[in-house]
């Protein structure tokens, strides 16, 4: 038990992404560390271009891996712009449409930057975009936090199979998958290295919805 929550992150079951610390990459690696870094650099520049600078930007990561991606993107943006970008995290657990279908899930941290989100351009950041249900939940969760001027979506991987009318504004890699495949995102913050792998999972675990 520890008042810091670094460990709790790893227990996040996220319907759109494989949860927990990933075992060493099995299956086919589609992005290695340099690919991940290049994708995030490109996303950072695209965000700046689209926003015409970094004014009013707020990045909100969806736990667990989205938060680390948001921090990295923010660091890259401030490298270019020279000013710090507010970063926060947004837990969507209680807003999920499948909350009642499983045992109560562990909550993750919601941490809104002190500037708030009212009137700002919020960029939601997640690792994998899949059914779109997590993003819907995130939009609902944000509704209770304030009223942004605009909301954009950045994801490291878009694996398709949307079940809701949701799309990403900034995509690291479009990855056509079949429903039986599993996309695992590894980040150096929890796993040994940065990589994205795709495997055919023997079990249903990690495959959302």
């Amino acid at each position: 038990m520890s008042p810091t929550h670094s460990e709790a992150h790893s227990e996040a079951p996220s319907a759109d992404a494989a949860a927990g610390p990933q075992p060493a990459a099995t299956g086919r690696t589609v992005l290695d560390a340099r690919d991940v870094s290049r994708a995030l650099t490109r996303i950072s520049h695209e965000i700046l271009e689209r926003n015409r600078g970094s004014s009013d930007l707020v990045l909100l990561g969806i736990p667990t891996r989205g938060v680390h991606l948001a921090e990295r993107v923010a660091a890259k943006i401030s490298e270019v712009e020279g000013n710090a970008i507010p970063v926060g995290s947004l837990d969507v657990t209680m807003y999920r449409d499948d909350l009642r279908m499983r045992p109560a899930r562990t909550l993750m941290r919601t941490d809104v930057p002190t500037e708030g989100i009212d009137g700002r351009v919020v960029v939601l950041v997640d690792d994998v975009l899949f059914s779109g249900r997590t993003i819907r939940a995130a939009l609902d969760a944000m509704n209770d936090l304030g009223r942004p001027q605009a909301v954009r979506l950045a994801v490291l991987v878009d694996r398709g199979h949307r079940e809701l009318p949701i799309r990403a504004d900034f995509v690291g890699k479009n990855l056509p998958t079949s429903l039986v495949e599993k996309v695992s995102v590894h980040l150096a913050e929890f796993d040994d290295e940065d990589s994205v792998a795709i495997s055919t999972s023997a079990t249903d675990e990690g495959v959302a919805n």
Binding site: P3, P103, A104, D144
Partner: protein, 333 residues
């Protein structure tokens, strides 16, 4: 899978830590513009109070409402409960209304247990204080408050001082804090220590001044005169001289030691005003934390398809001590 919270002793260490971590995430809700989460939308929670309470009932009500549950308040006064309806008939009524959870406060030790296990209803039962037996959510909020101030409770020393005999708070705290690895010392006059306290797995002492310099937390208990049917100490003055916390005793505490009280407190009896208002006192914070902890309990019991608590095997709970004579309805938070 457990669906009730009847005793702090039913919680495994994993359960307790999950509740504390969940409470920590929920605590920030109080600072947000919209203090509402949708997790229990459409669930009905009944507050069934056979005994007076302000703090606990309001705290449970706020917790349930912040999670979007529908809340129905039943109190003994002004309802059929005061006309002599039995607990069973009340339970059947609640079942017919479709309550998903019943938060029950009762003057008789064991009433929530009966409500949960008699097969009268399918609701989750949460014990909000039963007689002189248990008050698990109070223990959880106390542990949460300690955890926020001290970090991990493993090996921490906690002194619980005062009327342990009549205190459900003391029993629940002793059980929970032991689960969390803390070392608990109960400090009270011999007349106010319950029979069978040896089986609680805690230390006991009659000497407050000997315990204070080593302790990390001092929890003062209210002297529950409404439950007292005999002379447990000669005079109030003598009690507070020997077992009250005043400025002089507070000076002997370690720098990081916090002072707690479950409320309602009687200034001048168990602690003096300068202690209650000092920087060490976390009494007001306990109330704030109570809402977060109760939200965590309600969420974990009712939020999903099945309760998230009760993975591991709990240890044996000591049986409730026999009530000391007729129990007068009266409230302790």
């Amino acid at each position: 899978m457990k669906k009730h919270l009847l005793s702090a002793g039913d919680l495994s260490r994993d359960d307790a830590e999950l509740i504390l971590q969940t409470a920590e995430e929920l605590r920030s809700l109080a600072d947000r513009p919209i203090k509402k989460l949708p997790a229990l939308r459409g669930r009905t929670i009944v507050n069934l109070f056979f005994e007076d309470s302000t703090r606990t009932r309001i705290s449970f009500e706020a917790a349930a409402k912040r999670l979007s549950a529908d809340v129905i308040n039943f109190s003994a006064k002004g309802s059929s409960l005061s006309k002599g309806e039995s607990l069973k008939d009340t339970a059947l009524t609640l079942e017919a209304m479709g309550a998903d959870a019943v938060v029950v406060r009762h003057w008789a030790s064991g009433a929530p247990h009966l409500l949960a296990n008699a097969g009268w209803s399918r609701s989750s039962v949460i014990n909000a204080g039963d007689g002189t037996h248990e008050h698990p959510t109070q223990a959880l909020l106390d542990a949460f408050t300690m955890w926020r101030h001290l970090g991990d409770l493993d090996g921490r020393r906690i002194a619980i001082v005062g009327d342990v005999l009549h205190s459900r708070v003391a029993r629940s705290n002793a059980l929970l804090l032991r689960t969390l690895g803390a070392e608990v010392t109960l400090v009270a006059p011999p007349t106010l220590l319950p029979y069978g306290v040896d089986g609680w797995g805690v230390e006991t002492s009659y000497d407050l001044d000997g315990v204070l310099p080593k302790t990390d937390v001092v929890m003062m208990l209210r002297v529950q005169r409404e439950r007292m049917n005999a002379a447990f100490f000669p005079t109030v003055r003598e009690y507070s001289r020997r077992y009250g916390l005043d400025g002089r005793r507070m000076a002997n505490l370690q720098d990081h030691t916090i002072v707690m009280h479950p409320g309602p407190m009687i200034r001048g009896m168990e602690l003096t005003a300068d202690v209650a208002d000092s920087e060490r006192s976390v009494i007001v914070e306990q109330v704030t934390n109570g809402v977060a902890v109760r939200m965590a309990v309600l969420y974990l019991l009712l939020g999903g398809s099945e309760p998230a608590l009760g993975g591991a095997e709990p240890f044996e709970t000591p049986r409730p001590s026999a009530p000391q004579g007729p129990l007068a309805p009266g409230g302790e938070e």
